[in-house]
Symmetry: C2
Subunit: 303 residues, 2 copies
Amino acid sequence: MDVKDCEVLLIIYEEQNLSKAAERLYITQPALTYRIRQLEKQFQLQIVQKEGKNIKFTSEGEHLVEYAKKTLQEEHRFKEFIANLKSEIQGTLRLGVSSHFTQYRLAPILHHFLQQYPKIQVFLNTSPNQEIFQSLQNGTFHVGIVRGTFNWVDQKYLINEEPFYLISNDEIHLEKLPELPRINYRSDTPPMNKFGYKPDTLLMEAIDGWWKDHFEVPPLITMNVNNYETCKQLVQHGLGYSIVPEICLKPQDRFFKYQMLFKNGQPLVRKTWLIYKESALELNLVKEFVQYIKSLNLHLPME
Amino acid sequence: MDVKDCEVLLIIYEEQNLSKAAERLYITQPALTYRIRQLEKQFQLQIVQKEGKNIKFTSEGEHLVEYAKKTLQEEHRFKEFIANLKSEIQGTLRLGVSSHFTQYRLAPILHHFLQQYPKIQVFLNTSPNQEIFQSLQNGTFHVGIVRGTFNWVDQKYLINEEPFYLISNDEIHLEKLPELPRINYRSDTPPMNKFGYKPDTLLMEAIDGWWKDHFEVPPLITMNVNNYETCKQLVQHGLGYSIVPEICLKPQDRFFKYQMLFKNGQPLVRKTWLIYKESALELNLVKEFVQYIKSLNLHLPME
């Protein structure tokens, strides 16, 4: 089975529908059907069955899909291996990066990295942490950048650690906080729980812990929004205070800022980590990228 | 059962864990347990069973939860009704708004509305369309603002209709597009399908339709990110082109912009709608808000 056959098979499997698969592959449906028939002849098995408008994979067909996936992965690794043998740093660097780090920090970093290594291409996905861990494990991503607290047993490097700030358009007397409306950041990252979306529980617990450290009544949450830029917009228009990490604040932002300190003096912080498998460093382009990120010293206080 | 009891019961039901529920209620766990026992005595039934560290509602307990929900809704409606009887426009306006409209447009609108009606409080949630429809139906939200194409049989009003633009840091010859890297916006709104998150299929299909109208090979997607601000950041740093709706573009943005026109001259657009139930207009504050939004004429071309 050649690479093209593998790709065709995986797309049919994703779509579970021949006309949609044909569209995605930029071929006609008869051409696609012909290709499946050829594969069926070659392997002497039935791959799919019709089921109304859709199709269903036979169990033999599903084994063939598994085989196709492995073939593609091997092909991938082999190409990387060959590219790596050549002295030049080249190839495709596959990154899975937290959406906030991508939004606020990544663009200039990638820009400068690619200026140094113009033969490298970057494939980037913003993904939830759990997806990044999985994709590093199975080799879909080379390097991950994740935020927060988690378990990752292979290599990790602390990129930075930012404090949280309470921001407001007007000066606040902190003891009055329970009477003021809060614009609450609530990530709607999946998976859903039975009451809706499961929020970033650990972060929420940390903020809640800070609150309980200071107040004995619950906060007055009037707005729940899923984006720090939206929090900032609403605060700017005097609709309440909000609690945001430093990463989203710009020098030109004119908020009253209060650092979130626990009563024991500890600040509420969010860590950002570079993570990867030790084995991924065998690829030159991964090694260069990891070294580059480390060389930026983003964990040092910024100007 | 009084309102406080209802709230206590719903929070226990959400947490399925007494110590967490007690924390959220800002009371001690013994006080919470006492409250449950009192309710059990009052209604002569068992509400919860222990199950390891967690608790489980009995089927009678679940009926009580349903009853508590209804009681709270009735209380809510009654309070609104009373507030409505008084001539002053006051009360809590509950809004469910698309995250992009919230991020790019809502803050100044709310700010001016609340200046006119200082006795109104706003409760706002950014939610996926499906959640907004449900919450309008069951009365949790008064008014929704949603984007895209959908079915909603009650009242709707077209707020605006924006074109999509292809943006790039450098000038592009459109026929070269298939060779250029695309920074692809991919919403990660739940629900998940078996291959990951289900993206906003209709929008993706529309963009894909535009592409197929112009090219016979697939686009070169190198980055998938979940935020238009991130798309803009990456485009600004020369990492590719992107396709974004007008709502996210600011006058100071310096991109090369190409409007997305189909070969028949039709533009690719995204509609934003105000939706509500006719019956919600019985509340003065809802009527005022709807009239206010309509008076803004956001569907007229902007300066």
